[in-house]
Assembly symmetry: C2
Homo-oligomer: 329 residues x 2
């Protein structure tokens, strides 16, 4: 991949107002006190009530980013709407966002499960550098709570809802940009994370049951496969064309907030300094595709997004799909 310039203009985020604490879940699920927090690693996560739409939450994140940039919607030339699960089978979530905001925009959806933000970032960079658009917004949104099976501790306890938006321009050569990008699918992991209904596979014509609408995960499978392939994947990602990097040369790690065990294993296994990893998991949970841009928003909000830093964005998603990008700020 050719490195190219990319300038982060602003970020924004949105969370449903309803906080669901692990203490509250202990009671709701008839568990001993402290069980849910210990099992999930989460203090609280946000879950949308049934009136909130995915496009509504995404719209809040977009308006928040626009406000932070002193821009209006008409200043955005393209919206890339990222989601792990869309609002409807048809039309696109981008269309629903346009309708929610009453915005005659241009845009489409990108989906790569939990890591869709990363190919959207590469696309946006390429489109901006080719002069196709002046300013692009990427907004990732997911309402994971709509697909949780409360009978299944391994999955139901770790997810939170959310949306986050970044606004990008080409910038100048001094603004930094993407140094590297890598994505790879490991199809023997296709069954590790699934919601089987929702498309052409399971529906009234082919047969379906309530269970097909719930998120199912083989956590051990994900863990084992990720442990097996991640070191070589990272080596390839860090081997950027002009200036090969090492794990130690990365100043800031923005990782998909998959689970507390997954993240702590990654940090130990790869020898990453924990203080370089942004961790919002205890107060957000795994927000599917919204995790990565929410972490980026956190980096900006807390002043850790600073010019001169070399940032690695990395995640694992259903598929099994690995994706990563190196961003020189």
């Amino acid at each position: 991949m050719t490195p190219f310039s990319l300038k982060l203009i602003a970020t924004g985020k949105a969370l449903p107002t309803q906080k669901v604490s692990s203490d509250e879940l202990d009671k709701r699920l008839n568990k001993p006190a402290g069980y849910v927090q210990k099992r999930s690693g989460i203090i609280y996560r946000h879950h949308a009530d049934l009136h909130l739409t995915q496009a509504g939450l995404a719209g809040q994140a977009i308006l928040n980013a626009c406000q932070n940039a002193n821009l209006s919607l008409s200043d955005i030339d393209l919206l890339i709407a990222v989601n792990g699960v869309p609002q409807q089978a048809l039309p696109s979530t981008a269309s629903h966002i346009f309708a929610h905001l009453n915005w005659q925009g241009a845009g489409y959806d990108v989906n790569a499960s939990c890591v869709g933000f990363l190919p959207a970032l590469e696309q946006a960079g390429a489109l901006l550098n080719m002069g196709c658009y002046k300013r692009i917004a990427i907004c990732a949104s997911d309402l994971a709570s709509r697909g949780l099976n409360w009978q299944d501790d391994e999955t139901a306890l770790i997810f939170g809802d959310g949306a986050a938006c970044v606004i990008l321009e080409k910038g100048t050569d001094n603004d930094g940009g993407l140094l590297g990008f890598l994505m790879k699918s490991y199809p023997d992991g296709i069954e590790y994370c699934q919601i089987q209904a929702g498309g052409t596979a399971k529906n009234p014509k082919t047969g379906m049951c309530e269970d097909d609408f719930y998120f199912k995960m083989d956590g051990y499978g994900v863990f084992k496969k990720t442990s097996e392939v991640l070191p070589a994947f990272l080596d390839n990602l860090l081997n950027t064309p002009k200036n090969p990097l090492t794990i130690q040369k990365i100043d800031l790690w923005l990782v998909h907030q998959a689970s507390h065990l997954g993240m702590s294993h990654l940090i130990k296994r790869l020898g990453i300094a924990p203080q370089k990893v942004i961790n919002i998991y205890p107060t957000h949970g795994n927000q599917v595709s919204a995790s990565l841009p929410t972490v980026l928003h956190e980096a900006v909000s807390t002043g850790q997004w600073q010019q001169g830093k070399t940032v690695a964005l990395v995640g694992t998603g259903a598929g099994l799909t690995l994706a990563g990008a190196i961003w020189q700020i």
Copy 2:
């Protein structure tokens, strides 16, 4: 948008083996002889049996394109999987294609209802020209038959299933490329075309019924809104940066095969010479996102895709979304 080079290496397509003739539907639906063909404008369409998966059909189209280019899957650096409706809510249809083909590839889904092929084409062009990838496959697939309500003549009769793939490289300056691209959403048309279930909006938690899984269309609404906005949209599309075009200067029209009435109205209203428009609708129907690349494959297969021609690709999709591209071959 900056014009950029783009070289079509090969195309491929796949159709389910099962042909459903309009005569057969007359009998199945207890209609008088000739009713379905007159109403739909279709002689026959292809519908998948319940064992065929969307990824299976997409995989056939990809292998067909690879064969036509004398390439193997390992020669494809990125797969952009386009669909109107995905195979499952999670993971991406790209992941399912990788699993079906046992291919450790890189890729993601793009969704803009019926016109997703066009933003995928612009993205692919930008990514190739920025040197991010050497060779990109775009494969659009849809199994519309899985979402048809046979009680609803307006929608059930006009759709067919299919998949089509194009393989692209940057090419040289002599290979032509994209001269223009335009996409726009008209959100007052959000309810004209919908499948409401399948995502976070309608599911077991929020409430759903069988009807929510079927495609619903306000055909008159689509027609009225498209008629209103298309002329100005086309003017903007044809007003390419370096060499503004007119409708008469377009040599070949590759249009989304929405319906026979929609297409014939478009041709008359805009004063397009009918022989310049590729029409596969009578034997394919509306194949949702697979229509546009299937039409492109038809142009290549019939020798109408010739160097020096200026081609317009245009379509209307749910949302309501209009998209168009100008390709100088």
